[in-house]
């Protein structure tokens, strides 16, 4: 089983993840051509200007009004992307499989970053329950998605700490991780793919067409 999860399953997850994203991108690009003004409106200058304001913490006026949410959200997303790419357990596997070596995070740092992701997911779920304007638009799927994102981090953390049988945890960890990657193109997690485009489009409209700022 461990051979399966560290071999074929990784391939299934990666092919499904990148293939899914590519499929979504190509079909959406075709659909975008049907709207005669979408592509001509996109402007690199204004699109990037808007993106720059929104990928930096507190770059948007509304993010400054909610400092706690902004901090948690940025920390969550940074750790979510960086940790799986650079945690020692993964870099070793990449090296064994493909012979590529890259920099890896010290264990203690990776632990903290993992906990930040788990904390962030819990924070988002609690927020969904306690804030009326968020609860009103929350569906069961929103909680499932948050759990799906937190699951590989929680299982990976438990495995690393060896609190439970290591091999079992690693297998669960690999399955939840694969499920997470495979879900991205087909759930609201696809905001990972669309975010730069929606933001750049709104930035282009505000900047190039409307001569104003969208942050």
């Amino acid at each position: 089983m461990v051979e399966f999860v560290s071999g074929p399953l990784v391939w299934i997850a990666f092919v499904g993840f990148f293939g899914g994203l590519l499929y979504r991108f190509v079909t959406m690009a075709k659909l975008a051509k049907r709207e005669r003004v979408v592509i001509p409106t996109l402007s690199a200058k204004y699109g990037l200007r808007s993106l720059a304001h929104w990928v930096l913490p507190f770059g948007g006026a509304s993010t400054r009004k909610r400092p706690l949410f902004t901090l948690v959200s940025f920390a969550f997303h940074v750790c979510l992307i960086v940790t799986p790419l650079f945690v020692m357990g993964h870099t070793v596997l990449f090296q064994q499989a493909w012979g590529v070596r890259w920099w890896s995070l010290p264990d203690g740092v990776a632990d903290v970053m993992t906990l930040i992701v788990i904390f962030g997911a819990v924070f988002f779920m609690v927020r969904r329950l306690v804030k009326p304007e968020v609860r009103n638009v929350s569906y069961p799927s929103d909680f499932v998605i948050a759990l799906l994102v937190a699951a590989p981090f929680a299982t990976g953390f438990i495995a690393a700490q060896q609190w439970l049988p290591y091999r079992t945890m690693i297998i669960i960890h690999a399955f939840t991780g694969a499920l997470w990657l495979l879900a991205i193109p087909w759930t609201r997690l696809v905001h990972m793919l669309w975010f730069p485009f929606t933001r750049a489009y709104m930035g282009s409209e505000f900047g190039a067409v409307r001569h104003s700022r969208d942050w």
Binding site: L31, V137, H211
Partner: protein
Amino acid sequence: MADLEDMKVIDPGVDDNIAKLTPERIERTINRVLTEEAAARLQVYLDTCVHCGLCAESCQSYISRDKDPDFAPVAKVKDTLWEMVRREGKVDGEFLHNAARIAFLECGACRRCSMYCPFGIDISYMIMTVRRILNLLGVVPQYLQDTTNSHAATMNQMWVQQDDWIDTLMWQEEDARAELAGTRIPLDREGADIMYSVIGPEPKILAQLIANMAIIFKVVGADWTMPSTDGWDNSNMAMYSGDFETMGRVERLHWERAAELRVKRVVMGECGHAYRGAVYDGPRWLGWTKPPIPMVHAVEYYYEIIKSGRLKIARKIEEPVTVQDPCNIVRGRGLHDKLRYVVNAICSDFRDMEPHDEHNYCCQAGGGLINCGPPWKRSRMKSNRIKAEQIHDTGAHLVITPCHNCHSGIEDIIGFYKLGCHVSFISELLVKTIEMPEA
């Protein structure tokens, strides 16, 4: 929970027409718009929204209604478009009544929420898609539909007939000449620098604004003209009722008239939605990325002539004033700094509202809201208490509104909340304050 009093408002344009619909027609129409008219933008926006609710506090109706979650922008989309998608168009009359109330009355398409959504999702575009569906079902508030009918039949918003139009211009020319000798309203002068266009309500109910502009043009020695025939009206309520075919006809004619007159640019009166229709929504529907001839909003023009010294201010308004930033020329054109330059040039005690500039709150009248008429006025007022508080906090006696919808909307708010202020267009203040040449 939305206010029950507002939920019960009866509008023949909405309720009588819903009664005529069949479930098949509802389903077919919704699915046609969702799959054939809308494309990538709608799909991406539906996919990307993570239901975070961060847009809530951007909206004046949510704030004004004590943070009622049903008035958050995302909730307005949830209760309309998301449900239409989820139920694959199988929705009933009660649902459509509520969808019409939300789409036509509780969202002014001001786009403030797009500045609060981290993804920049164009929530007002989704609400406009709902309006489009309702329009194709014939479910549009009666008063708003009447203005659209007028556009379709007369190519102006207020059923102004050809002879009335020319007669009004001649009457205004006469009035303007009483103020400043030699003032003219030149009609159909080919090759003039400027074509001046106005919205339908100006000749109908606010004709003196045309005389004001004629005086300003005379003072600065502008080479200008107005069209004598259809195409003079730059307003576009069809854009807001979801009748995009009529919107396209109105915009095309306006630009064709300007092209026929071979003018270098079009200067338009103090109106926000007309700017949006002519520069943005109209061209977009017609498949143009921008208008064929440059369009200059009155605020931009005033700035240009005051800054360059062509228009000299002889005296200043001394009472405390504030200014309503019209969404469609601030978030829609970034004219807030120029607006403040003009206001400061003619007023000695200017006080800004908080927040202002691109972060202003909508007047809850634009976006076709005020055009839905008296049945909905109370609900409209309740949804903009925050604007009354903003105005009150400035201590101003005069609210300057360089937009017709803002002008009427703020006037309503002042009356409803008993603020005791008055409202004014900039041109009304300019004719009182500028240095007139010796006759």
